[in-house]
């Protein structure tokens, strides 16, 4: 059996209702994203098409992208027997490991694709926001390969927690700013509101959009949340399904962490398709930090992805764009919202969500490292924590597949802080969440209750 995957899994074909964008209620219009002939489309036509088309189940991956994927794909899917033994379980735990590439995470899967399509569209510079820096590193490398310039706004707290990631981006040729920065109006306003410059992806994206709109030849790109990004990541699950079949096993549970949802969608969509088409009953579990519980405690409401209120209103599971999440070490999971597509699927019960305290996540990650030798990203460790929880809650042995979205070799200072007992559980700022949700309700009037 060949493991070379040559198509992306278009889940919109299985659930075409999700391809139909709900019209934004009239009272929400004008709250950003209005008509303006100077607004150049930030997406390319092909990426837009990928975000909306439901007529084909499998979307062919262009040869130029496959060529770059071949540098690191297929990625390993391994059974973590030593981890099972350390846990004392008879369940089988597999991990799909996306950390063995130049950028160190799954983000490269979409970075390569987006750089390819933007280059084709005549774009000269990509401007983007990044949380923990995985996306920033990936897009910096991919842009360099494609002959594009890259400007990255990296969330301040992660910029300081993971100082080698911005270095990595610069090595790849990217231009990096700590966000909130001094180079944009959004950043300067953010610094006044947030003097400690913790930052958020909402602010970083707002800065990126401001630059993208003002610089000729520049476009704003995102590393998660949008349908086309989720689509690109399905190469993970496409491979995993084949790898599991080749092994002769199949998971009862699939877990992945959720920031805006790209690695989660990447591993889960092909399994969700199999659930629907082939009568499988795989439980899909999204793992999030208690610090940013948008799925488990958020509202399904109209909101924007950026602090500058430039992006369109989209309906998603969100804590509200006004929230500034505590500076946990899993910086990639601090985004206030979730992909609109995943949010709709969550509303329809196609997957579950669980939240985990930071210390529990690191405890799991350290046990995993000591048993397997693999040091995983703090974000990815949430997937392991969810896998362990699923195993421990099951009355009988089960098979679990966890998506390890990236390595943690540039997160060692976070591990060091954990080992020195210098980190807490990352409890959410309840007052801030309450205030943000209240503002969100006011903007949405009719909003449904939290899940």
């Amino acid at each position: 059996m060949t493991l070379r995957v040559e198509t992306w899994c278009n889940i919109l074909h299985d659930f075409p209702a999700y391809a139909k964008r709900e019209p934004v209620p009239k009272h929400m219009e004008g709250n950003g994203g209005g008509r303006n002939t100077d607004v150049r489309p930030q997406l390319t036509l092909e990426l837009f098409r990928q975000s909306n088309q439901a007529d084909v189940a499998e979307i062919p991956i262009p040869d130029a992208i496959l060529e770059l994927y071949a540098m690191y794909r297929p990625t390993p899917l391994i059974r973590a027997k030593a981890f099972e033994e350390a846990l004392g379980t008879k369940s089988r735990i597999y991990v799909k490991f996306e950390g063995q590439n130049a950028a160190g995470s799954h983000k490269l899967n979409s970075a390569i694709a987006q750089a390819y399509y933007f280059k084709k569209a005549g774009v000269e510079r990509i401007v983007t926001g990044t949380g923990a820096g995985q996306w920033g590193a990936a897009i910096s490398w991919a842009c360099g390969r494609a002959g594009l310039a890259a400007t990255v706004f990296m969330v301040g707290v992660s910029y300081r927690q993971k100082p080698l990631r911005p270095v990595m981006m610069r090595v790849y040729g990217g231009e990096v700013h700590e966000s909130p920065s001094e180079v944009t109006e959004v950043g300067r306003a953010g610094r006044i509101k947030d003097p400690q410059r913790i930052g958020s992806l909402s602010i970083a994206n707002g800065e990126a959009i401001e630059i993208a709109r003002g610089v000729p030849g520049a476009r704003f790109a995102v590393g998660s949340g949008e349908n086309h990004v989720l689509l690109h990541q399905t190469v993970i699950g496409q491979e995993a399904v084949r790898q599991m079949e080749e092994i002769g096993d199949y998971p009862n549970v699939v877990t992945a962490c959720v920031g805006a949802g790209s690695n989660f969608a990447g591993i889960s969509f092909p399994f969700i398709r199999n659930n629907r088409r082939h009568g499988k009953a795989v439980r899909i579990i999204a793992a999030e930090p208690i610090a940013c519980p948008k799925l488990t405690r958020g509202l399904y409401a109209y909101d924007m992805s950026d602090a500058s209120s430039t992006t369109p209103q989209v309906r998603m599971m969100t804590l509200g764009r006004d929230v500034v999440v505590p500076g946990i070490h899993a910086g990639g999971l601090r985004y206030h919202g979730t992909s609109p597509l995943l949010s709709a699927m969550y509303q329809d019960g196609l997957f579950e969500a669980r939240s985990f305290p930071q210390r529990k996540v690191f405890e799991t990650a350290v046990l995993f490292a000591r048993s397997t030798g693999m040091i995983v990203a703090p974000e990815s460790a949430h997937a392991l924590a969810a896998a362990v929880q699923a195993v421990q809650e099951s009355p009988a042995p089960i098979c679990v597949l966890a998506n390890v979205s990236g390595h943690g070799l540039l997160d060692l200072s976070s591990y060091d802080a954990y080992l020195k007992d210098e980190i807490d559980d990352g409890a959410p700022d309840e007052a801030m969440i309450a205030n943000s949700l209240s503002l969100l309700r006011q903007r949405n009037e009719y909003v449904e209750a939290a899940v």
Binding site: G33, R35, T37, P41, Q42, T44, L45, R49, G122
Partner: protein
Amino acid sequence: MHYMQDTEVLKVADAVRSALGDLIPQVRPPQAIADSETLFVDLGLNSLEYLELWTSIESRLGCRFDDEDLLGDLRTVGDVVQRTLDVCRAGELA
């Protein structure tokens, strides 16, 4: 030959008119895109609608635009009509 070209232009103009009418009927009521004044009107679309316009024209005419086809300044209704004509003609030649 001249008659054939006029028919083609009208077909494309009709598709563009319908696509625009569906996207923003309150701004651009159904009307013939024929006179020069209308052709020079700015599209008045937001960035999402701009992309929807092209895919809508694709579905009406059975043509397909690539990102390369959208390079250059495309600000007015006339720009869209002309670019659509170019792509349709190139498709027929291919």
